[in-house]
Symmetry: C2
Subunit: 167 residues, 2 copies
Amino acid sequence: MEYQEAKEKFISTWGSLGSLWGINKAMAQIQALLFISTKPLSMEDIMEDLKISRGNTSMNLRQLMDWGIVSKTLVAGERKEFFTTEKDVQELARIIAKERSRREIKPVLKVLKEISSIKDDNTAKTKELIKQTKALHDLSENADTMVNKIVNQEQNWLTKSLLKFLK
Amino acid sequence: MEYQEAKEKFISTWGSLGSLWGINKAMAQIQALLFISTKPLSMEDIMEDLKISRGNTSMNLRQLMDWGIVSKTLVAGERKEFFTTEKDVQELARIIAKERSRREIKPVLKVLKEISSIKDDNTAKTKELIKQTKALHDLSENADTMVNKIVNQEQNWLTKSLLKFLK
DNA sequence: ATAAACTTTCAATAATTATTGAAAGTTCAG
DNA sequence: CTGAACTTTCAATAATTATTGAAAGTTTAT
């Protein structure tokens, strides 16, 4: 497999995986392209490489910046803007976990808590609703906490030994 | 908040959350409905409650069964089929983690491994591609392993103490 | 074997989501 | 201040994904 083929395969695989971490295809592909690039890329570069429109590129770059995954870089002597992505996978994981927690998990936890706090009228169905939403709330909260803590370990000695221990 | 309102809120919240764990809205809503039901439900029951068509109900129930989350139950003296979902959240988490790993993560790991194994031609860009895909592969593999191991702890003493430790 | 009761399939359609591209907006060098 | 270089916005359109409903299929009771 040659470089170009490998590169395309990576971008398309990562792109289709976007849904797994909650972003769209173009967004994931732009990130993938930046992730394996050896230098900052301009909007022009990205449009050409991925064959997507200017508007699409602009909107998705903005979203990636909102996530905190991509940033603008100044390139000496150039008028236009250049972009780079976070290159450290550990840091990338940290950002993604934190953002997904904030955007998706926390709001759901809030709703689950509300629901599991409705007045118990002692009917079987109300009892079941309370019991099950509570269980879901607690599980989700624990999962969220664990993921964030693990991903936040500065040194990943804990992660490493945990992994060894759990194997 | 009354039962009916709470129930609807739960179903719609869980439904819109479907994307988070990789299934569609109707599928997630059916699962949610079964999850808080005190008894097995028929296709008719589900269609009526969620106001979705017969075909949609049938297809999504089948998918839920493929995932191993929903099963058919026989109700004495009834001709039609009834359905129930796994009620234990721990077990639910186990099934979901395992299925997502199998369907989505494992295939991506395979591709990442292939790509990170291309011949190193000593150009900077090839070196970067190899380095970054390798880093991504290793991180993803570790995350996948950890999630599965944690979720599989029969007794969750480990999870509990881990949580306490990490807090 | 028949027919009623039920489920599945799938082509058509609807709903949702992503993408384009041109116009409007911004920035900056001269 | 002007205009070239660049970016953003957004209505129109395309692509994708979900849903319907009726016909075909299956099962079961008699």
